[in-house]
Symmetry: C2
Subunit: 499 residues, 2 copies
């Protein structure tokens, strides 16, 4: 190994330590910090994040990357470090092109937009958010212009969340999915809805926590390499492959939601826990492709978790851990967790309508960035699309266009990755079944860890070192397509709703 690479690794290790502390400050802020601890906490977080950012954009870092990118050094690197140096150089150059003043203004605008969004949502008044949304659109365009001057703006945005996936691909697979899904949804909505009244009761919270632990262990989450916490919104956070944490929320009126949050976050976490150890603390050591990441959480949550065979080997155990489920049969449970409804809120949607919630957002982002539709027209556009695809009109903007925070922080191009992950899932399901046989059988036999092992081997171990397109190609041997997930939806719901 070259002396230069050794020195670079030592430099990275210090940056890793600063990042480690920032990550922990964030985790603690969400899970434990007492109310009045906020100032000390955020001061420390701001200081360490700034130190960490300074190092990642320092002249020293630039020199390391220049030298390591020069052919004589680069050629001597192994495949992992070739990826790492290339990726870091790309990030470094992109960040360096952003003027410091502009970056500062962007952060200020983002914070202001976040406050305005919360206010607008609380007061159900889009006009409070509108000028901030305009500014974030404008600033995000400029940001992409600095970072990626050679790319079309919205393509650049999509690419920044799912490298290598352009809008031509998104358009193709989303349209494919929409065309197949709309008629299926219409048939489902015409069928008899499931009566959920039996599930409306008061649930015990310690039992829910015990179920969370049981489910995480069951699907393959390692408690030697992770732990859980409680937060308002569930999320996954990773320090490195040895410490990956998931959070959850518990309420007395719903004990099923936290089960699926646990399985969903568990899927994200299993990905991160199984990235090859040698990539730890490098840019390859964590998956930063949001679509690919979401494919794993949704694979566990939906493809596996909403399959009746997932529950067959463990339903009696679930009833034992949480006696609130003693009077609910596995068949009732299965119907409940696959109840399809045209509802207003994305985060509460079932797996079928969820896709359309994302398509609404994707199409509106295109209108914004490709057709320059003014912000003032967006609420009406939102409602029109909701009516068209989901046959429901938001009674207020708070439960319509104001429901998600993403646009307030300039995360344009982020929503589509949620659906892309679902589309990947159809393809991964085919690939898993090709190797392991019907997942119905594997699950019914309680061998879910065989599936986890398969995913570890084919997807997780590579972290970010294989880009999504390369993963799809390697695992499925063809281009991304929406047909497999459409087939999954059609077969599953035709049966459930007797269509």
């Amino acid at each position: 190994m070259s002396e230069l690479l050794d020195k670079f690794k030592a430099y990275l290790a210090e940056t890793t330590n600063l990042g480690y502390a920032s990550t922990l400050l964030y985790w603690d802020l969400e899970t434990s910090m007492p109310k009045e601890g906020f100032k000390g906490h955020s001061d420390a977080l701001a200081y360490l994040s700034t130190e960490s950012f300074k190092r990642s954009t320092s002249a020293e870092m630039g020199e390391f990357l220049d030298k390591l990118s020069a052919p004589e050094e680069f050629d001597s690197l192994d495949a992992d470090w070739k990826y790492i140096v290339k990726q870091m150089k790309k990030n470094y150059d992109e960040n360096k092109r952003v003027p410091a003043d502009f970056y500062h203004d962007f952060i200020v605008a983002e914070n202001e937009a976040g406050v305005a969004w919360q206010d607008a949502k609380a007061k159900n008044d889009f006009s409070i958010f509108a000028p901030h949304l305009e500014k974030m659109i404008d600033f995000s365009k400029k940001m992409m212009g600095y970072m990626r001057p050679d790319m079309e703006i919205y393509d650049a945005m999509l690419d920044s969340y799912e490298e290598g996936m352009d809008s031509a691909t998104y358009d193709r697979v989303f349209n494919e999915l929409k065309e197949g899904l709309l008629p299926l949804l219409n048939k489902i909505l015409a069928a008899k809805p499931y009566d959920e009244s039996k599930f409306k009761k008061e649930y015990d919270i310690p039992a829910q926590k015990a179920v969370e632990k049981f489910l995480l262990e069951y699907i393959g989450f390692s408690f030697d390499k992770g732990c859980t916490g409680e937060t308002e919104h569930p999320f996954t956070l990773n320090f490195n492959s040895k410490d990956v944490r998931v959070s959850n929320h518990f309420r007395t009126d719903n004990a099923v939601d936290p089960m699926f949050s646990a399985i969903h976050e568990g899927g994200h976490a299993i990905f991160e826990q199984n990235v090859a150890e040698r990539l730890d603390d490098t840019v390859a050591g964590s998956c930063h492709y949001l679509g690919l990441h979401e494919s794993q959480s949704r694979f566990y949550e939906n493809v596996l978790g909403r399959n009746i065979n997932f529950w067959k080997p463990i339903y009696a155990k679930l009833q034992e851990i949480d006696p609130d489920f003693k009077d609910i049969t596995i068949d009732e449970f299965y119907r409940y967790i696959n109840s399809v409804k045209n509802s207003l809120i994305r985060t509460q949607a079932d797996e079928v309508t969820y896709c359309l919630h994302v398509i609404v957002r994707y199409e509106i982002e295109q209108e914004i960035f490709r057709n320059n539709v003014p912000v003032s027209e967006l609420p009406a556009l939102w409602n029109k699309k909701m009516e068209e695809y989901l046959h429901i009109t938001p009674p207020t903007d708070s439960v319509g266009i104001l429901q998600d925070m993403h646009w307030s922080d300039g995360s344009f191009g982020y929503f589509p990755t949620y659906l892309l992950g679902t589309i990947y899932d159809g393809m991964f399901l085919e690939a898993v079944e090709k190797d392991l046989g019907s997942i119905d059988t594997v699950l019914a036999e309680g061998r879910i860890k065989d599936i986890t092992k398969w995913l570890n081997e084919h997807i997780h171990q590579y972290g970010s070192s294989r880009k999504p397109k390369e993963v799809i190609q390697a695992v499925c041997g063809r281009e991304v397509s929406a047909q497999p997930i459409l087939k999954y939806f059609t077969e599953k719901y035709t049966k459930i709703y007797n269509l």
Copy 2:
């Protein structure tokens, strides 16, 4: 305010942020970190602690302190900052006198001694620990020689944990206490012991956690300025007065221990939560006098918590939160929590015999540092003193001289502060009663927060800015004496044991 002081405060703020992150890394390591996360965690902790230490011993820090100590600047400081600058200058100069090589060797020896101590304790073989103990004694002497060349070694050690308390004072009050306590203990041990069999059962853990929360709130711990965690050994940790955390341990075979751990750590935490806000993030903003700190935890745990009137207003509530206590009357509970036994382990001792456990250690430390008694003779000395004071001979060194880890990390002079805190408590009790009347009445009327308020006002708000002797003088108007706590013990246990 002087420009220099402003600059100094800005410099300190950065150090505070690094320290904040280190503190959080430590808290998380104890409460949450998964097993395999250890390396990443300890790397980050080592890096940040080193950075923090570098800053606190930097040339820049030295310059600030020199300039601020010069009369023209010093005289313009307010009383708080006079204390802060003086204390920091003292610490800085002491640290600077320790050669870096020696400091490094000390840390290595300390780590090795810790491992050897664990091994020796597990294998019940003092000879494994003996050479390491010898080295730690030698290194600790040298360390004090560097840091405090003008002081007698053991006095310097005592002073480093409880500034201003010399061994003349310790000798006087410990002997006073011993003389009074030994005859009392002999009478108690001759009386009928309390039958504890009713308390031997299986306790529910979630109920214990609910009780912990209830008790902490009841005594005045603020959950807006603190939170709880679970660790093997309970402890208190503070970031600043706005974020003070206590940990506890829970087991199914004992639900009473965690109550008193909660009250004990709650006492430490209430101290830290109530230091004046203006002292936050300075050397005065946290109490670093161990005896004074322990006086507060033991005041809540013993003087208040083991008084039957503490429980009268809340015992029914306790039984409601934890139904495992439904069949135990308040009188049975009171007798159980004040059961005096001559047992082997300090940390499990009742409040009476606890004093003698500490005296054994204090007298052995004197033999080591004043009379150069060789390490090989210490186990026999330990057993002799246990027999003499407690009429019990440790069957093995593991439950004798090897039971505590303190000596393995060179914490000589630390144990005595535990007892000094208890002695302060007798004096504080007198002072509280002078102002508020009998604590029996205050407690029985559920007005424990009046006592907390009194302690906040007379002790807590000053943090470290008043030294223990000054606190005792200000609060009690006289020198420290063991008579008040002896009176407390004698009256209380004469009644309980019908002596």
